[in-house]
């Protein structure tokens, strides 16, 4: 619901929002530029009478003096029958330049407030301003929900590039956008008479004017008593017309002044509503508050990026939504499947179950968990397949499930089977599925099957669960879940370096290139620096499909696509299908590969030191990070191998990086030498130094096998304990990240 409230107005208003914010950002420069080109005397320095006296020396035919909110003074005059307008210096009354409002600014302003379509355009602009408010508020709420509460709003965010851009920029701009949206909506409402605008003071014209001989303008008491900084407009009487009068408008009010006595003939202050309107106008335009204008302009500039990334995020989410064949209605189905999914992978499993049950002749209703109904008339069984989000929280399509469950007063006679999807690496493995199971039990729902879990999308575990389901239903239920085969790119092995043959750990660094003669390697592509490789960064994963297997194997990438090669580090396992295939691959041999982004596994930018920890082939992405450390951020590498003579991966490169300071310190350990030690031993030996680095805000990136990762975590828990923290704290702060296999 909240997500729809965000994406629907976002998609509809995206184009208009872009127009309004780009024009708004351009207009926001005007007050600052105007202010920069103007001398503004301090309040109390110059009176309107003084200024008018100085202007009179240069402009005998002055008709009107106007002061803009930014302090520019404009004198309108007639000279030899010709009319003109000049910007003047407040200290001398002398012309600075002719006053010519920029036609470009005027055009941009009209585009901004009416899309050049007059009243209908103004209505659209007003609605767009309202949409901005809705987007800002719903966006903040979504973000708070995603990060686990309003207090966590400033925590680092993870996700794809689009998601991070959308969130980071939105977070930076939200206050400005909210202010622009609110003030814009108010101004639009006044245009359409939906909000009061107040009235500018319009004093009565004096009926009687004495008509005495005019006095010199700089002697008039009412003008002397008015400070220049309060001036809005001074309109002169016609020359040689003794009954005509001065009309003076100020920030406080307006009135008429006798040209002989120089006293007010009438005066009326602006009403409070009008002052409020002007204040809002100032907040919206920055006219008279140039610095705020610049801030709002900056915030507005973020919006076009968000208006592009937003629909991209939406589109990706839509595309990965499963399309279900033969989905029955909630009251006609005999089996109901409810799905809790954040990134939609769980939907894939749900579809496999759905299709298998349909094939067996069942009528199946599959829906998000948030659509839990209080009653399914014909249902005999309910399956709940859910992932977990963050620390045991509900994923997007299930975030209202528990509340809805709570509201169901009469527990139906509907046996439930809950299946959790998760990753055992995380402490809250299938935490939400467990919560759901507990809540259902507490409400007395009958159980079809006890809670089961699937680790890391294991198709085998899923098939096993399918067998259990089949047994309960008295049918043969085979759940063959094939993840959709991703679109792959052919790559050609260009180079390989082999290590470790002597220590029974044959390991190879493999570098792949896009095959020559591919459509994308033309002259233009080369000029544009295209490598023919799909885009990726060091730390992302490459999925490689070995021949005769539909299941991809993933390897961490040691290079970025801009390096021109795709580099991985692979150890040959005795019975490894894919590692065997890769190790046997000759130069020029090709593989089918695709990229799986892993944006969470990256060194944080900034000044904080980075501690890289790995063992064996886990060095791959870590070397990639070091290679791209052009900013010379402090990087400490801890790495463990077997024997420095045989499997010291990347030894020459690492020495180069040490020399040119891309790598600050190299700590190696080897397990097949006399002083055998593992990487965690080295960590413990260097405990004080590591503690000091962590105190300085260091981020830790771990890559390697699961056992090593477990030992490293234990060692680090001991190391940081004196600081009153543990690895979980670091994880929550985004300062401890793992790529474990």
């Amino acid at each position: 619901m909240l997500r729809q409230l965000h994406s629907l107005p976002g998609l509809i208003a995206a184009l208009f929002v872009i127009v309004l914010t780009v024009t708004g950002a351009i207009l926001s420069l005007d007050p600052a530029l105007e202010r920069a080109g103007t001398t503004v005397p301090a309040a109390g320095q110059i009176s309107v009478a003084e200024l008018a006296g100085r202007v009179a020396e240069h402009y005998p035919g002055a008709e009107q003096i106007e002061r803009t909110p930014s302090g520019t003074l404009i004198v309108y005059y007639t000279q030899d029958g010709q009319v003109g307008a000049d910007r003047v210096d407040p200290r001398t009354g002398q012309a600075i330049a002719p006053y010519e409002p920029s036609p470009f600014s005027r055009w941009v302003k009209n585009l901004h407030r009416s899309l050049l379509l007059d009243m209908p355009g103004r209505a659209v602009a007003g609605i767009t301003a309202l949409a901005m408010i809705v987007l800002a508020i719903s966006g903040a709420m979504l973000l708070a929900a995603r990060l686990g509460g309003w207090r966590q709003l400033l925590r680092p965010v993870r996700g794809t590039l689009s998601q991070r851009l959308h969130i980071e920029l939105g977070r930076a701009a939200i206050l400005g956008l909210l202010l622009s949206g609110l003030t814009g909506s108010y101004l639009s409402a006044t245009t359409f008479g939906l909000a009061p605008e107040g009235v500018e003071a319009e004093p009565e014209f004096p009926l009687e004017v004495a008509g005495g001989p005019p006095a010199a303008i700089d002697t008039l008491p009412a003008l002397k008593a008015t400070d220049l900084s309060d001036l809005r407009a001074l309109v002169y009487p016609y020359p040689d017309e003794p009954t005509d009068i001065y009309s003076l408008g100020t920030d406080q009010g307006a009135g008429y002044i006798d040209q002989a006595s120089g006293e007010w003939l009438s005066y009326l202050p602006h009403d409070a509503t009008h002052k409020f309107h002007e204040f809002i106008y100032m907040l919206h335009t920055g006219e008279g508050l140039w610095w705020l204008g610049l801030i709002l302009g900056q915030a507005a500039l973020m919006v076009p990026v968000m208006a592009v990334t937003g629909p991209i995020i939406w589109w990706k989410r839509q595309r990965s939504k499963p399309k279900l064949a033969a989905n029955s209605g909630p009251n006609t189905a005999d089996s109901v499947i409810l799905v809790g999914s954040e990134s939609n992978t769980t939907w894939g499993f749900a579809r496999t179950l759905h299709d298998s049950l349909v094939r067996e002749g069942h009528r199946v209703h599959t829906a998000p968990m948030n659509r839990l109904a209080s009653r399914y008339r014909g249902a005999k069984r309910l399956f709940i397949l859910t992932a977990t989000y963050g620390d045991g929280d509900a994923p997007a399509s299930a975030n209202r499930f528990l509340a809805r469950l709570e509201k169901i007063t009469r527990t139906p006679e509907l046996p439930v089977a809950v299946l959790g999807f998760g990753d055992r690496q995380f402490p809250q493995f299938c935490g939400f599925a467990k919560k759901v199971e507990t809540a259902l039990t507490a409400k007395g729902w009958p159980q079809l099957l006890p809670l089961d879990t699937i680790d890391r999308q294991s198709t085998q575990e899923f098939a096993r669960w399918g067998n259990a389901v089949g047994k309960v239903l008295g049918i043969e239920l085979t759940l063959v879940h094939t993840p959709v085969r991703p679109r792959t790119t052919p790559l050609e092995l260009a180079e390989r370096v082999d290590y470790g043959a002597d220590v029974q750990a044959p390991t190879a660094v493999l570098r792949f290139k896009a095959p020559e003669g591919g459509g994308r390697s033309g002259l233009l592509s080369r000029l544009l620096g295209r490598t023919g490789l799909p885009p990726f960064e060091a730390g992302d994963l490459v999925g490689i499909l070995p021949p005769n297997s539909p299941v991809p194997r993933f390897y961490s990438l040691a290079s970025a696509s801009k390096d021109g090669t795709l580099e991985i580090c692979v150890r040959q396992h005795p019975s490894g299908l894919c590692s065997g295939f890769l190790h046997a691959l000759p130069i020029g041999g090709t593989i089918d590969a695709f990229i799986q982004p892993n944006p969470n596994f990256r060194p944080a930018s900034g000044k904080a030191p980075i501690v890289l920890i790995g063992a064996g082939t886990g060095i791959g992405p870590l070397v990639g990070f070091i290679r791209h450390n052009k900013a010379h951020q402090a990087m400490h590498l801890y790495w463990g191998g077997r024997n420095p003579q045989s499997d010291f991966l990347y030894e020459p490169e690492l020495n180069v990086y040490l020399e040119d300071r891309r790598l600050t310190k190299l700590n190696t350990t080897f397990s097949r030498v006399d002083e055998r030690a593992y990487v965690q031993d080295k960590l413990i030996a260097n405990g004080p130094e590591l503690r000091w680095l962590i105190e300085k805000g260091a981020q830790i990136l771990v890559c390697g096998g699961r056992d090593m990762a477990k030992n490293v975590m234990a060692a680090l828990n001991d190391i940081v304990a004196p600081l009153g923290m543990d690895v979980a704290t670091l994880k929550a702060q985004g300062r401890y990240r793992e790529d474990v296999y």
Partner: protein, 158 residues
């Protein structure tokens, strides 16, 4: 082209002199604006006596009454009372465009010392009081005069 019957709120003396408005004729006022380079101009056409005293409104181009105060002389004379311009308003006039208004004008107002005046105003630009001042006479009909503000040329024809 706009047509309507003009019921001028004239001074008492003039009103008495009107024999039931029996004699009236169509007068077309043609106001062509220069390319002043701004948004739609507000234009007031009104009648004054020979001393410049406001007598009645002919036409206001521009729909938002909150901006009418910028038509300064007209505003002063009419007091901006809506009864002065009810039914006598239309859209503002764009850059270089021409405003054509046809009104039924009582014969008594022609050759009687009345003047037609035009005030003009544009957002963020100068206000022009008495952009055009021409006497309303048979002799003056069809003669173009140029204004001193945004009016390129002004003439009226019977």
């Amino acid at each position: 082209m706009k047509r309507l019957t003009l019921a001028l709120a004239l001074s008492l003396a003039a009103a008495i002199a009107l024999p039931a408005l029996a004699q009236a004729r169509d007068v077309t006022f043609n106001t062509e604006l220069i390319n002043y380079g701004g948004d739609g101009a507000y234009v007031a056409l009104y009648l004054t006596d020979a001393d410049g005293q406001y007598q009645g409104t002919l036409w206001i181009a521009g729909e938002k009454s909150k901006y009418y105060k910028h038509l300064r002389d007209w505003a002063r004379g009419s007091g901006q009372r809506s009864s002065e311009y009810d039914g006598l308003t239309g859209a503002s006039v764009g850059n270089g465009r021409t405003l054509n208004i046809t009104l039924d004008i009582a014969d008594e107002l022609i050759d009687a010392g009345y003047e037609v005046r035009v005030d003009t105003a544009v957002e963020d630009m100068r206000d022009n009081r008495a952009d055009v001042v021409v006497p309303l006479t048979t002799e003056g009909a069809g003669k173009s005069v140029s204004g001193r503000g945004y009016v390129q040329s002004f003439h009226y024809t019977f």
